[in-house]
């Protein structure tokens, strides 16, 4: 019998959006409760989609053998330099023989030698333990005691054989309604008008982290105005006070749109010369959102779309 959505989502029902992620994680939690093991998860998605939040929430629901909550260790992989440092500073004092959940955040930045070690460690077929020998010492990984989760924004940079050993959980962009709910949830005691909330959610670029940050600004605004409502006029005031641009675009993105509106189309090199930004910075940091929102298109040259032109008119 297929599991009902309401039953499936009960561990994460207080979190907004990411329904597919919730379903998958609920499944693995239920499997963990039955078997005490969990696959090595790899949370993949853009910045600010809630990978760390979901990992933490998942870890909170993993129970030790005595029923107590398992501690959660969050590691930033870009600060790990080599195997020796990992085993000395992390594995021996915190992980070895303990029941714990470990999140390797920014997993694409794992050092090469630790990636190679993980190929051996996470190559488990039927057993729940793995002995890894490093510099004449043997370290035992017990996967009934230790749960390993990886998270990355750049899954293409993860070594493919390691990726093969992990179970991928993909995060998706938040809808406008989801973002509105996130804003409301983080603005305790503030009542929003539908119009104000809709416009607010259009300025957070589909990103949950931006929505949380915007909520903090709204809370500050309402406190300074001594009010507990946020309506269209308040939105206009906030836009004016913080210089928020339509659709949440940045000043550089606005500049790119204006250049393209004036010139019709231009090459990346020209755009680089006019803005003073490197072609790489333009491609990686400033064009992605404009492309995603269909404000520009690339067809040999950069061109502004009809949507982009409307946005420029709106700004002016």
């Amino acid at each position: 019998m297929p599991l009902q959505t309401s039953t499936m989502n009960n561990y994460f029902s207080h979190l907004i959006g990411q329904e597919n992620v919730k379903k998958k994680l609920n499944f693995y939690l239920k499997a963990y409760n039955a078997t005490s093991t969990c696959p090595f998860l790899n949370l993949v998605g853009a910045k600010g989609l809630g990978k760390t939040l979901f990992a933490k929430e998942f870890a909170k629901n993993l129970k030790n053998k005595d029923g107590a909550k398992r501690p959660f260790l969050e590691l930033n992989c870009s600060t790990i330099k080599n195997n020796e440092q990992f085993f000395e500073q992390i594995f021996i004092p915190i992980i070895m023989n303990n029941e714990i959940t470990i999140l390797f955040d920014e997993a694409h930045a794992l050092p090469k030698d630790l990636t190679m070690a993980f190929l051996t460690i996470f190559n488990t077929e039927k057993t729940n333990t793995k002995d890894f020998t490093f510099e004449d010492q043997t370290f035992t990984f017990d996967f009934t005691k230790q749960t390993f989760i990886f998270a990355t924004t750049e899954s293409d940079k993860l070594f493919p054989p390691l990726k093969d050993r992990l179970t991928t959980v993909d995060f998706e962009q938040y809808s406008s309604d989801n973002l509105g709910e996130i804003v409301k949830l983080n603005c305790d005691g503030i009542n929003f008008s539908d119009e104000g909330l809709k416009l607010l959610s259009s300025t957070v670029r589909g990103n949950a982290r931006n929505a949380v940050m915007r909520s903090k600004e709204i809370t500050l605004y309402c406190e300074s105005e001594n009010q507990n409502t946020f309506e269209l006029q308040d939105f206009n005031n906030l836009v004016d006070l913080l210089g928020i641009l339509p659709e949440g675009i940045t000043c550089t993105e606005k500049q790119i749109l204006q250049i393209l509106a004036d010139r019709g189309s231009c090459k990346l090199q020209t755009l680089s010369a006019v803005t003073g930004l490197s072609p790489t910075a333009l491609r990686r940091d400033h064009e992605v959102y404009l492309l995603r929102r269909n404000f520009i298109q690339i067809d040999g040259e950069r061109k502004i779309t009809k949507n982009g032109l409307n946005l420029v008119k709106n700004i002016i």
């Binding site: 870890a59 260790l73 969050e74 590691l75 330099k81 080599n82 020796e84 440092q85």
Partner: protein
Amino acid sequence: MKKISLNKDGTPRRRRHSKSAAAPTVSLSIEEIAKLASDQVLKIPVSEDWVKGRLYANYLVNKTTSHDFSEAQSVEDKIEYALTDFDDE
């Protein structure tokens, strides 16, 4: 190829070398040198090239040592982490 100049008698003219010819050398073991040297001998002349060669060899040995040292240093770099125990939740 350099042009060869001839003397009046047709024989090839000797080239003048800017450097003087190197003194012939012999290879001796440390023990043999010790036997030959009397108690009064405080210094033994060696070629500048030999000294440079030894200095470079020592540099390479030290370079290996400093490589180990840098690894030891990197172990001391702290890995950033946060530990949550969920006790109050």
